[in-house]
């Protein structure tokens, strides 16, 4: 099967049981997306599939022939600088997922027919699929809020 990852086309041969997360990490050496729970419960594995944020641990790679995936390694987005500026992390394990998720979330808000106001409460709700065991939430919200305000 073919998979375009961060703009590069790869031809992969894999067991059909391989998830997108394992394909990225084990077959393509892209270890940005993290395996937290492996069951859709933490968001550490979040990547962008055709520009939309998804949990790569619950997608079978075999279903994605020809699809285009962006991982944190392929991103250059203002939200990344803001995470650094505001200490949007402690251990950093959840961070690649937080970054991909916030990029997807900002895009969803921007392309909405009736764009929401991204208050802190709204950001928290929309980012609730990304858990942070270190509890860096206040700084994560701060970082996203600054990008959203622009």
């Amino acid at each position: 099967m073919d998979l375009v990852v961060n703009g590069d086309r790869h031809t992969l041969e894999m067991d059909p049981r391989t998830t997108l997360l394992d394909a990225l990490r084990e077959h393509l050496g892209l270890t940005g997306a993290k395996k937290g729970c492996d069951h859709g419960q933490c968001g550490a594995c979040t990547v962008l599939l055709e520009g939309r944020r998804v949990n790569s641990c619950l997608i079978l790679a075999v279903t994605l022939d020809g699809a285009s995936v962006t991982t944190v390694e392929g991103l250059a987005h203002p939200v990344q600088e803001k995470f650094l500026e505001h200490d949007g992390f402690q251990c950093g394990y959840c961070t690649p997922g937080q970054i991909c998720s916030s990029v997807g979330m900002l895009d969803e808000a921007l392309s909405d027919d009736d764009p929401p106001e991204l208050s802190d409460a709204e950001i928290r709700e929309r980012m609730s699929g990304n858990l942070c065991r270190c509890g860096a939430y206040p700084n994560i919200v701060r970082a996203i809020r600054e990008v959203a305000a622009r």
Binding site: P16, R53, N55, T63, E125, S128, G129
Partner: protein, 318 residues
């Protein structure tokens, strides 16, 4: 995970070979395959079928394709405008990422979150018929108070399905034997003595769409969960209400996370039609439905929870 072969569905009436299962967003099925609870031999991917549109129906209603992603459904302008209960329910479920993957069809057919069901090493009448139900004496805090049986007290966990139930949704299915349609409530079976039989679909029958009738009253969804977001419901209420001159002329109510299926509260509706739209009658209506509740040691709180939710949702709408 047990190994399987993979193919894509090519037509709505393709059907399924023995041992095969449809795969949509995979957010429930892939999870259960990892847990060893689902062990399909063939996965038939339905996401390449042209089922991802929301279209207007001639009677003013709406047809939602089975492949429409939950996030797209919640954001659809007509769903937001005419069926707010549905938009609210979808957005109350799961997370932004999961809603981008989850489909209408898959959401309706998702399995219970009963912890014993999700653990292939435990006895459970649903995943291993005849092995018993450890939830009865064990962890049943979030299991059913209505519609359960001595064999199983699992709850259906969907938020979306509760709103669709209150909206009188009709399910369209297609299979090798032809197409048919029926009210959403008829998709689900109560456990009785056969809790491993959950749906009325024949093997190979594909959900193609869900139809909503036009012209609803005002509507809303409220969900209570153990944390602020990204958690399954402990109890929820979907309501559609029409009030004229202080009197309830039409009401449709459905409860979530309290029964093996999204629970249409017919007794409550009956008790409320023609009554004054007051908190008093809302509570009396809730009581009429909840009189049938059979709580266990740790889930009796759901009776009070649903009672108060019914009153507050209906007060908000009247």
């Amino acid at each position: 995970m047990k190994t399987f072969t993979y193919r894509t569905a090519t037509a709505l009436d393709d059907g399924l070979e023995p041992g095969a299962t449809f795969l949509a967003g995979g957010t429930n099925l892939v999870d259960l395959m990892k847990l060893g609870v689902a062990t399909p031999e063939v996965l038939v991917d339905v996401t390449k079928l042209p089922l991802d549109e929301v279209t207007d129906l001639p009677d003013g209603g709406l047809r939602i394709g089975a492949g429409v992603r939950n996030s797209d459904l919640a954001a659809h302008p007509r769903v937001r405008r005419d069926y707010p209960v549905l938009s609210q329910a979808v957005l109350a479920g799961a997370s932004g990422q999961l809603r981008n993957m989850a489909t209408t069809g898959g959401n309706l057919l998702q399995r219970t979150r009963c912890r014993y069901f999700m653990d292939a090493t435990m006895p459970c009448n649903k995943h291993s018929p005849g092995s018993g139900c450890p939830a009865r004496s064990g962890d049943h805090r979030n299991l059913a108070i209505l519609g359960g049986s001595s064999s199983c007290i699992a709850t259906h966990p969907s938020d979306m399905a509760v709103a669709l139930t209150a909206l009188d949704a009709v399910v369209q299915v297609s299979g090798p034997a032809g197409a048919r349609s029926f009210p959403l409530g008829d998709l689900y079976l109560l456990p009785g003595e056969t809790p491993h039989r959950e749906f009325t679909l024949e093997h190979g029958e594909l959900i193609t769409a869900v139809d909503l009738p036009g012209g609803s009253g005002s509507s809303a969804y409220r969900k209570v969960r153990d944390r602020a977001s990204y958690a399954f419901a402990v109890g929820s209420v979907a309501a559609v209400l029409t009030v004229a001159e202080g009197t309830v002329t039409d009401v449709r109510l459905a409860f979530g996370a309290v029964a093996p299926k999204p629970w249409r509260a017919h007794a409550a509706e009956e008790a409320l039609r023609g009554r004054p739209a007051t908190r008093e009658s809302f509570l009396a209506a809730a009581d009429a439905e909840l009189a049938a509740a059979e709580p266990l040691r740790d889930n009796a709180f759901k009776i009070t929870l649903i009672r108060n939710l019914v009153a507050s949702v209906l007060e908000g709408l009247s």
